[in-house]
Structure formats: structure tokens, C-alpha cells
Symmetry: C2
Subunit: 279 residues, 2 copies
């Protein structure tokens, strides 16, 4: 069932809670792929009711980013949601989420300044603000986030703890194409040649993990190898970052340890792709 109004969504979830049903929530920006589907299936496993939201959140896009061209296809999404037997789709307008006079933001400091946060000022502030709003509207028992956006997952977790929210944040494994490319709505931007080059991101991560498992923990060596792999394709326009960091604080490491995160952001053509792997 499609719900567009906040007031209606609130009364639906209020009734569900009153009936004692657990609510799982999967926030998305639409253009659903198998990554989203994995979150939905996990939510359906864990909860009585699953709510998916589709909202391309302008607050989390920078001025020169791809808000306008971000892929949208509601009919295709609806088909997937029906197939997965999702109970409710929350699909609010921008006006509904950010009415005139809207002026409140929620911000997590510290971990938002690293990795993607360093290159996308305001991005995580946009994410935490919209996610808090969605949590307040839907009041889920559990919310599901893909670990492809590992930093986002940790930022949300931090917000939930700091603001004493009751929702349980569940991080779900990255879903990959057969060749290893992490699923992302933005993959749709890639030309055929770029798509071929894009596979090197995950290959570099897998290679680094293999090296680490073989005993190489020197971060500069691991990063050097990954760089070499990624830059071997001419479609790679720019490596924004390749970092090996503590997976809680996102502080850069010198010697990699079990549990650390390798994260990268790379421009393949004009498309910014991210991926990561935990050691």
C-alpha cells in the first residue's frame, strides 16, 4: 500500500504498534536493486510488518552532485515491492518532508568528517536529518541499512545511541554483481566501458584483503597495490580516496588489523562509486 502523507503514515504505524506488531523499516532513495531487496527480505524475516520508504533527499546532495539526474522509476520499484510483498511504501513529496519554514538539522560530529564526509560536506547532516524524520514518522522496531554505505550505517548508529532512539539498526552485507561490482543505483550511469572498469574497485578490495590474510599489514603497501589495480583502467578518472581505517572511529591506520575497514571512492567517468570491505 502506497502512503504519501506523513499524517497517514503516522496513523498507520500507530495502529500497527497498538496491535502489537513489530515494524521493520527500509529507507531508500528508490531505483531499487538486489541490495535493497536483501534489506527488505531481512526485514520481512525479522518483523511482522515491513515499511519501505522512497525519498530522494535533496538535503544529502551537494550543490554539484547528482540530485537532478539521480535515477527514478516508481513503476519499476512498485513492481519489486509487490513481488517482495512489502506491506507499505512511504513515498512523500519534498514539500511534505520539508515544508516552508523547515529549519532543523541533526548532525553527528567526528566520524562524519572522515572518508566520504571529507569530500561531501553536509552530506551526512542531510542523511541524519531525513533518517531521524523517517524514524519519527514510522517508529520502526528495526531499520535496515546496507553496508556498502558503511560510514552512513555507523553514523546512523551513533545518532540512534546519542539521541536515545529505540530503533535497532541492522547493517546488511553488500550485495554484488556476479563480477564483484557492488550494487548501486548509480551503476546505471556507467557506459559499457566504464562498467568494465568499475569492476576493478571490488577487485582491488579483494586483492588487499587477500594480501592482508597472507600477513601483509603495511597500510601504505596495501593502498599502493589497490591504487595500481584501479588505475590500470583508463576509465578511472580519479581516485577520491582509498583508506584503511579503524571501523569504529574511522581513524587512519598504519598497520592494518582484523576488523579494520578498507573504503574507497573512485570516479569512473563522471560517476562517483564507493565500495568497502572489512578485514
Amino acid at each position: 500500500m502506497l502512503v504519501e502523507k506523513i499524517s497517514e503514515m503516522k496513523s498507520v504505524t500507530k495502529r500497527l504498534r497498538f496491535e502489537g506488531r513489530s515494524i521493520g523499516f527500509v529507507p531508500t532513495m528508490g531505483f531499487l536493486h538486489e541490495g535493497h531487496v536483501s534489506l527488505i527480505r531481512r526485514s520481512k524475516q525479522d518483523n511482522d510488518i515491513t515499511v519501505v520508504s522512497i525519498f530522494v533527499n535533496p538535503l544529502q546532495f551537494g550543490e554539484n552532485e547528482d540530485f537532478d539526474r539521480y535515477p527514478r522509476d516508481l513503476n519499476r520499484d512498485l513492481e519489486i515491492l509487490r513481488e517482495e510483498k512489502v506491506d507499505y511504501l512511504f513515498y512523500p513529496s519534498h514539500k511534505e518532508m520539508y515544508p516552508d519554514g523547515f529549519s532543523t538539522t541533526v548532525e553527528v560530529k567526528g566520524i562524519t568528517e572522515k572518508l566520504c564526509g571529507a569530500f561531501r560536506p553536509g552530506h551526512f547532516k542531510g542523511v541524519t536529518t531525513v533518517v531521524l524524520k523517517l524514524f519519527n514518522i514510522i517508529k520502526p522496531d528495526r531499520a535496515y541499512f546496507g553496508l556498502k554505505d558503511f560510514q552512513q550505517y555507523k553514523v546512523i548508529e551513533r545518532m540512534v545511541r546519542d539521541l536515545n532512539l529505540d530503533v535497532e539498526i541492522v547493517g546488511c552485507p553488500i550485495v554484488r554483481e556476479k563480477d564483484g561490482l557492488a550494487m548501486s543505483s548509480r551503476n546505471r550511469y556507467l557506459t559499457d566501458n566504464e562498467r568494465k572498469g568499475a569492476v576493478l574497485l571490488s577487485q582491488a578490495l579483494f586483492e588487499a584483503k587477500k594480501m592482508f590474510d597472507l600477513g601483509i599489514n603495511d597500510v601504505s603497501k596495501l593502498k599502493e597495490e589497490m591504487k595500481k589495480i584501479i588505475q590500470s583502467n583508463p576509465e578511472v578518472r580519479e581516485i577520491q580516496y582509498i583508506e584503511i581505517v579503524d571501523s569504529e572511529t574511522f581513524e587512519e591506520k598504519v598497520k592494518a588489523e582484523k576488523g579494520d575497514l578498507i573504503a574507497l571512492a573512485v570516479f569512473v567517468g563522471d560517476t562517483r562509486l564507493i565500495d568497502n570491505i572489512q578485514l
Copy 2:
């Protein structure tokens, strides 16, 4: 009943909601006076259960402000709460509210930059952050704020609307001493002579309202008169601001209109006092 732990407070209010009881909430920094008592009585009128919190919130004090010397007297407060038959006192430690690693803030832009916000950078950010946490812990149906802190009341109202919270924000009239001084825990700082001078704040506001009611709406004239009254006492060290503003946007007015707010902040000796009146 005194509750110190967030987890305990949450399970208490969860049980109450489950039983279908309405919860009224009065957040305070303690050192309770008749102003607080008026909020408590209103809450008891409107709700099945009343929760009062006492927490001197470090986040909302500036570096050179009076966090350390802010008056505290738990035993006296407990007596008042017992007398008023308050159901629960939530009395968390700083560590409980801001554990290690705490790094999330909630901020309302725009209206927080005027009046007190212009002189107390970060103050309202501290207020909205702690109030949101308290709302999330207690999940009240209604929360009560004194209109002496008119700007705070409006900022909280804005946050609640923007973040889609379910709590109803109730503003309650300023409670004054017999001579007109607005009740405030900070009045306790005043020496006898300062206390005598402090009465001029409300007298200036009453005089301006009287002039307005007589047809004088020229803001500069009204402000001039208030200044003259307040400065007539040598204990007044500094007028931080006297403003006549739109009571929604806090934009300064040239011609005062019905509904506008006259707000002022004045140092009497070392003590910063605020007061206001709505035209």
C-alpha cells in the same frame, strides 16, 4: 519516584503508555520556583501522569556562563515535587546523558540567531539537543515550557514540527513576583540592591505595553522609554538587548503591532536576566 537511569525511565514510560495513560513532561534545570510549579500543575490537569526532569545541561551554557554556579538544591526540589504530587522525577547524571563518544547535535536555524541566540552562541543548540533526548526517553504526550523563555518555546515548537515529533508543546504564562519580577532560578544571584533594581525590567515592559495600548506604536520611541526606565537604576550594568519583534520570525519591527513580542536581556550586577511581554 526518583529515576536516574535512562533505561529505567524508558521502561517506566513504556509501561505507562502501554496502560494507555497520558504523560505530561516538565523539563527543568532544578532549583524549582513558582514558575515551574505552574507548569507542573498545568501538566497534572492535562495528563494522567506527570514527569519532571532536573538536569543542568552543560551543552546549553557558554564557556563564560554560569554552569558551575547555577543554583542546585535537590532536597528542596524533592520537597516541592512531593507536595505537588509529581509522579516521576527523572534526574540523570551528565555521564548518563552524554556518555563518552557522544557527538550528535540538533539545531534549529533562523530564529535561533536572534535575541538571546545572538548573544549566546550554541545555547539553543544545547537546548534542542537535550530536549530531543528527553522527549525520546520520556515520549510525553505534552511538554510544558514557561513563556519567560519565549524564544526557547518557539525553537522547541519549530524542532517538534520539523522533526515530526508527536509531543504537543504547551507554553505557560510567565509567573511573576508580587512586584513584577519574572520568576527565575537566577534571581537567587541578586544582592538586595540588585533585586530592587531588577524590578525595572518588568516595569519597563509594562510601561511599553501601556504606551502601545494608548496608540504609540513607534518602536524606537517605545524602546527609548524602556531604556530610560531600566537605566534609572545604577545596579543595571548593561542592557544586552531590548527588541520589539514579530513573535513568530523574531524579525525586528519598526511599527509595533498586536501580538508582537517585546523581549529584553539585561545584566543586573553580574546576573543576566531576561523578560518579555506580548503586545
